[in-house]
């Protein structure tokens, strides 16, 4: 009896190890990830407005039908990336995704930024140049430091009413995104 119990405990322990391996290995084994879906949109250094959610159609990115989304994919290896422009007077928020699909930085327009989007994203080496004042930036630029080079910037904009959506999407698409110059 004791022997059977010991075997069962052994089985549960082995199960625990399998569980840990599965949880840790899952992100490495997945083929369709957030990043592969972002790359499929092909928004290289340009703000691309994502298509609105259609009723009855699948919504793989889990977009909120009430919002307008703008996506821009950048590579810091080509130089620091700047995001600049003005958005309409409504709620908007911004998230920076890395290749692992996690949000490394996020903010909303209620953090005292208002309607102006003025953001610079720098990797570690570029931040050092910034500290040594070898990179010229405008005053008031929101400085965001990133550990990795390949990033995607997602801007969520909330039009107060459905009829304002086309105008809001136009304003969102006009946001400049990419290296300076």
């Amino acid at each position: 009896m004791t022997r059977i119990l010991l075997w069962l405990i052994g089985g549960v322990l082995l199960g625990g190890i399998i569980h840990i391996v599965v949880i840790l290995a899952l992100p490495l084994l997945a083929e369709e990830t957030t990043w592969s879906r972002i790359e499929a949109i092909a928004a290289n250094t340009a703000m691309v407005v994502l298509p609105a959610v259609e009723p009855g159609a699948p919504n793989p990115l889990h977009l909120d039908p009430e919002l307008v989304y703008g996506l821009c994919q950048v590579d810091l290896a080509e130089g620091p990336v700047y995001l600049s422009g003005t958005l309409p007077d409504a709620f908007w928020s911004l998230a920076v995704f890395n290749e692992a699909g996690t949000v490394t930085y996020s903010t909303t327009n209620r953090d005292g930024i208002g309607q102006t989007v003025d953001l610079g994203i720098f990797n570690a080496a570029q931040t050092r140049l910034l500290a040594q004042q070898q990179l010229d930036i405008a005053e008031g630029l929101l400085v965001v430091e990133s550990d990795t080079d390949r990033l995607a910037i997602l801007v969520r904009l909330a039009p107060p009413h459905e009829t304002m959506r086309p105008r809001f999407a136009e304003r969102l698409a006009a946001i400049r995104c990419g290296p300076r110059g």
Binding site: H19, T33, P58, S106, T108
Partner: protein
């Protein structure tokens, strides 16, 4: 013979606990990465820059554009407050308050993530469109049957999930003990 049987039993137990636990942790997950304000479930760690391994696994399975921690939080309900699965054949009543937020949206989706709003109606119910009682509490009707007041009209059949997304919210930030409250979901008449 006995040894082989025991070995087989051990392997079966190991596989069942290993994959069973993993499946539970990544779908329900209330014991590991998810927070529950019954019947609403949220994964507060999804938007952080270094999510815990369970949240990371959940993120991988969803492969969606999740909200960053300062942007907001999404709550999902797949059952009513009594624990019964949400069914499109029934009418539901949402009553109560949500945590402090700039605004929120409510959508109904099926298992594949398809929006279930009735054709020709709004895809989501938004906080600015909602009529409230004098106490500030809200009463929302969800379902296919015609309802007065705030009504999210749905179409189709089968089970569904409600997703309530709070933008710029103080939920789970220790803002106050009475802040982390979500509306109750009560089942009404079923067709």
């Amino acid at each position: 013979m006995r040894f082989v049987l025991l070995l087989l039993l051990t392997i079966v137990v190991a596989l069942a606990t290993g994959f069973g636990l993993s499946y539970y942790a990544l779908t329900d997950g209330r014991a590991v990465g998810a927070a529950e304000i019954s019947p609403w479930v949220s994964w507060p760690d999804l938007g952080s820059s270094a999510p815990n391994p369970y949240s990371r696994g959940h993120l991988t399975r969803e492969a969606a554009l999740q909200l960053g921690r300062s942007e907001g939080l999404q709550f999902t309900a797949t059952t009513d407050s009594a624990g019964e699965p949400l069914d499109l054949a029934c009418a539901y009543l949402l009553e109560g308050h949500v945590p402090v937020s700039t605004f929120w949206t409510l959508v109904a989706v099926n298992g594949a993530g398809v929006n279930l709003a009735a054709p020709g109606t709004d895809l989501a119910l938004r906080s600015s469109e909602v009529v409230r009682a004098n106490s500030g509490a809200m009463v929302l009707h969800v379902g296919k049957a015609l309802q007065p007041g705030n009504w999210l009209e749905l179409a189709g059949e089968g089970t569904f999930a409600l997703k309530l997304t709070l933008y710029d919210t103080t939920a789970f930030s220790g803002f106050g003990s009475d802040n982390d409250t979500m509306p109750s979901i009560t089942r009404g008449d079923c067709a």
